[in-house]
């Protein structure tokens, strides 16, 4: 890592607070409390057991629960799995219908899809354009067969906050269980299981400055929510979740919850102010759109769509800056698959704009200086990308963004030409020759402009809307053209691919470039012929 990146991905995971790490170390070192909490017959085990129980109280206290209502899991994904599948197996005799939302976290979506395969009926509620669900819509979806409503308190991509208290009143009235995925909420805002009247609630440690690999599920005792265990063997956690308890992680989660309890109110206020400052700065750009709700949201998350830039180029640009920004297009869990966010599409964002979206998530160590640097970086990059686009007409002047020397996802050649494309300012001169090409569906559009004098290209410039490779191909094309005569333009797709070390999935960029070369060569010869005729 050349330059330490600016971290704005707190919703994906948070660093462990130093106080948490300190507590954890006491349970890791050889002279520490390493016992198995289930080994109650000796002191090593009992010390570990006591530490686990203390942490259980700390977690319970943060969400207004009793310690005996907390079940340790390996994380919020497991909590969600246990809650939904556990209820499905325990209550199947009552009905086989559940209600959830289209914008839930993957771990809820995938569990519900699995249940659909098992013969369950799932109602997937669409959100309103602001990401919220109305209690009327929910009320209409509940029927006699319904056993569970599963909704997230705070959306992980947009930060949108649901009115769970009203929903909890409704589900309680209708005699339906309510599960709340609160992974993005706990530790960031007050969460009270009594106030929300929730029966089950998922918590994650690594979203609140605790360790990865540990989470909890709140399971209501009065009235009791029944669950069938998903991991069997040994009867840990009152039979609801077996497996040796990872003492150090549990203690870490307890400490993280204790700190959150103490720091939350002030911290949320500070982070909210920074988040608002960030939005204010970014919205100085024309045609940027905030995704989600302006008034009902968690403090640390801001999701923005940038019109007129390609999503891949935007994200590669942000992560390839000389001081890179570490952030996400949405959930880290789906980041590896390069699709646009299903959450944003459910809010009504069209594919292209959903793809050109960035989730900024701020946290405990985000500073105002960082926010200001982020604003400048994003503005500069978006302006540079828009300047290169053949379609963008509005004001987008500004300095060239400072890019890093390499990017692990791209070949050196592609990255070099991409940064060259970003640095170049479009010329104001009239071009003699303009040719254009695009890919099916216009996901990428490329325009080549050139001037010819004395039978040779004296200037050339590419304007591209598209991915990093297409911008690189444009820059390569412009460079290739200068100094050559129209007859000399003889390059195959394979040669372009080789020159740029293009990935096979990016072959269409080379094809577009080859097309443009052919077109401009023909047009140039016509121009030259015409000029010669005039001269003779």
């Amino acid at each position: 890592m050349a330059e330490r990146a600016l971290y704005l991905d707190y919703a994906a995971t948070t660093p462990v607070d130093a106080r948490v790490a300190e507590r954890m170390r006491a349970f890791l070192s050889p002279d520490g409390e390493f016992g198995n909490p289930a080994s109650m017959q000796h002191a090593y085990g009992r010390v570990a057991h006591d530490a686990v129980e203390k942490a259980r109280e700390q977690v319970a206290s943060l969400i207004g629960a009793e310690a005996a209502e907390i079940v340790w899991t390996s994380g919020a994904t497991e909590s969600n799995n246990l809650a939904i599948k556990g209820v499905a197996e325990a209550y199947a005799d009552r009905g086989r219908h559940m209600v959830t939302m289209k914008t839930e976290h993957k771990s809820v979506v995938d569990v519900c899809r699995y249940l659909e395969q098992q013969g369950w009926r799932i109602t997937w509620l669409p959100p309103q354009p602001d990401g919220r669900i109305s209690t009327e819509t929910l009320a209409a979806a509940i029927n006699e067969e319904t056993v569970l409503v599963s909704l997230m308190l705070v959306n992980n991509e947009t930060g949108v906050l649901q009115d769970i208290a009203s929903i909890g009143r409704l589900t309680r009235e209708r005699g339906v269980l309510l599960h709340v995925d609160a992974a993005q909420a706990v530790g960031k805002m007050p969460v009270d299981v009594e106030h929300m009247q929730t029966d089950l609630l998922s918590v994650s440690a690594h979203k609140l400055y605790g360790p990865k690999g540990i989470g909890a599920l709140y399971v209501r005792r009065r009235p009791r929510a029944r669950l069938m265990p998903q991991i069997h063997g040994g009867g840990h956690e009152r039979g609801m979740r077996s497996g040796t308890l990872p003492t150090h992680q549990i203690v870490g989660m307890g400490e993280a919850c204790r700190i959150a309890d103490e720091a939350m109110a002030k911290e949320a206020e500070r982070i909210r102010a920074l988040r608002d400052r960030l939005w204010q700065g970014l919205s100085e750009l024309p045609e940027v759109y905030r995704n989600g709700s302006d008034s009902h949201n968690v403090a640390g998350i801001l999701n923005v769509s940038f019109a007129g830039v390609d999503g891949e180029a935007l994200h590669a640009g942000l992560s390839g800056l000389a001081v890179p920004l570490a952030l996400s297009s949405g959930s880290a869990c789906t980041a590896a698959s390069q699709e646009s966010s299903y959450v944003l599409r459910a809010l009504g964002r069209e594919d292209e704009l959903a793809y050109a979206s960035v989730r900024f998530s701020l946290g405990r160590w985000t500073t105002q200086d960082e926010v200001d640097r982020v604003i400048t970086s994003v503005q500069t990059l978006v302006n540079a990308l828009r300047r290169r686009s053949p379609a963008w007409q509005k004001d987008c002047a500004g300095p060239a963004p400072g890019m890093g020397d390499e990017h692990p996802q791209y070949s050196d050649a592609v990255w070099r030409y991409f940064t060259r494309a970003l640095a170049a300012d479009p010329s104001e001169d009239e071009a003699d020759l303009v040719v254009a090409s695009d890919t099916p569906g216009s996901r990428a559009r490329m325009q080549l402009r050139a001037r010819i004098e004395g039978g040779k290209f004296v200037s050339a410039e590419a304007r591209v809307y598209g991915c990093v490779s297409s911008l690189a191909a444009g820059a390569w094309l412009a460079e290739y053209l200068i100094g050559k005569s129209p007859e000399q333009l003889q390059v195959t797709t394979a040669e372009i691919e080789q020159d740029l070390q293009l990935a096979p999935v990016k072959r269409h960029c080379a094809l577009m470039a080859e097309d443009l070369l052919g077109m401009i060569s023909r047009q140039a010869r016509l121009t030259v012929d015409a000029a010669e005729k005039v001269a003779s």
């Binding site: 890592m1 990146a5 991905d9 995971t13 660093p15 462990v16 130093a18 948490v20 790490a21 954890m24 890791l28 050889p30 016992g35 198995n36 289930a38 080994s39 017959q41 000796h42 002191a43 090593y44 085990g45 390996s74 994380g75 994904t77 497991e78 799995n81 976290h105 993957k106 771990s107 809820v108 995938d110 569990v111 360790p211 990865k212 690999g213 540990i214 998903q230 069997h232 063997g233 040994g234 009867g235 840990h236 077996s242 497996g243 040796t244 308890l245 990872p246 150090h248 992680q249 992560s319 890179p324 920004l325 570490a326 996400s328 959930s331 880290a332 869990c333 789906t334 980041a335 590896a336």
Partner: protein, 389 residues
């Protein structure tokens, strides 16, 4: 000085493992699924650990799926294979860990017939009985552990694999107590799928692994997000995974010295035990884990003996930590046909690489004193005279 003789329940972290985990615990952070640099640093660390864990059992890194521990690995293997198969018969050995045995109920609920393969008096799975059960037909899945966690007795997993494969069934082997404690190779074992755990080999708790052939069709236990080739959802527990990798590498490097050290202590212990009256050591003549000795002090209540030892600062176990505190005699010993009274007096000593001969001597002398007191207790007048002093 307190003495820890319960390494089959859990071990402490080796200092080198803790070192390896330090930077990922508090320093560099990132969600391994994130595409940015922080995420990639985490991913590289996980890939390295994957290689280290694979090497421990001579597997390919692509065959490693990280889980939250051995229990989750066992559950995923058995439930996950069953979920993708037409219900039929499943065979579990009678001495499996509770995380396998307790799958009986959910399997039955899923339409499976669950049968238990008996073991011999020496604690070894009865191969002839297994063959009979396989010959009856309909068996799709067999789960037999590599090494028993209580007695330490090695199971004939290669022979089992041969029989199971010949019958066209899938063999899951719980290798939690084997991998890292003795030489164990995934390809040579013949098993289709293995379960491993980190905290039995001086790695952190909260992480384990499945080793499996990519061709196996298995339903994930945890859905959502497609981590670990879609077989195990959830943000990877990166520091623990890094720790597991380091622990696996150390275990491989030190396998011989640890084996010699523990076997030496165990032999010293058992020589001392044989000097005590009527002590019975289980599976003593069988190939065993070098660190494990389970024995019974006849006429003595194991729980009471454990409590007495605990007061003397000695940590041992009656069997599996997972079922301790229940006051029931070991299911493993009962399956071996051991009399219930004898089984109730069972003590498991599981030694570690840092234990010493002096600790073994300390244990032996305390045990002699405690069981001596027991003899006095059983005799009324001598008991009274002791109390009178």
């Amino acid at each position: 000085m307190p003495v820890y003789f319960d390494h089959n329940a859990t071990t402490w972290l080796d200092a080198a493992v803790l070192d390896a985990m330090q930077s990922s615990l508090a320093g560099r952070y990132g969600n391994p699924s994130s595409l940015h640099r922080f995420g990639r640093v985490a991913r590289d660390a996980i890939d390295r650990a994957r290689e280290q864990v694979a090497a421990l059992v001579n597997a390919h890194p692509g065959q490693v799926v990280f889980t939250s521990g051995g229990t989750e690995a066992n559950n995923t293997a058995v439930k996950g294979l069953a979920a993708r198969s037409r219900p039929g018969r499943i065979l579990l050995s009678a001495i499996e860990h509770p995380s396998v045995l307790e799958l009986e109920e959910p399997l039955k609920a899923g339409g499976w017939q669950v049968d238990f393969v008996p073991v011999t008096r020496e604690g070894i799975v009865d191969l002839a009985a297994l063959q009979c059960m396989l010959d009856e037909g309909g068996v799709r899945l067999v789960s037999v552990m590599a090494v028993n966690n209580e007695t330490g007795v090695l199971q004939p997993y290669e022979a089992i694999a041969g029989q199971v494969r010949a019958a066209g069934a899938i063999y899951h082997c719980d290798a939690v107590q084997a991998a890292g404690k003795l030489s164990f190779s995934y390809p040579e074992s013949g098993a289709h799928i293995l379960s491993l755990s980190s905290h039995k080999i001086y790695g952190p708790k909260g992480v384990g692994a499945l080793i499996l052939d990519k061709a196996l069709d298995i339903e994930p236990l945890l859905h959502g997000g497609g981590h670990e080739r879609g077989l195990r959802a959830g943000t990877e527990n990166m520091p623990a995974i890094v720790g597991f990798g380091a622990a696996a590498e150390l275990a491989q490097q030190q396998l011989e010295s640890r084996t010699q050290h523990c076997a030496g202590l165990r032999d010293q212990l058992e020589a001392g035990l044989s000097a005590l009256p009527d002590i019975r050591i289980f599976g003593q003549e069988q190939p065993r884990l070098p660190n494990t000795s389970q024995f019974s002090v006849p006429g003595y209540d194991g729980e009471a003996l454990l409590m007495a030892l605990d007061r003397e600062g000695i940590a041992v176990s009656s069997g599996s930590a997972c079922s301790s505190g229940k006051g029931e005699p070991s299911h493993v010993l009962l399956a071996m046909g051991i009399d219930e009274q004898v089984a109730r007096g069972a003590i498991r000593v599981s030694l570690g690489k840092d234990n010493t001969g002096a600790e073994v001597e300390q244990f032996l002398s305390i045990l002699a004193r405690l069981t001596g007191a027991q003899t006095q207790q059983s005799s009324g007048d001598r008991f009274a005279s002791v109390m009178g002093q």
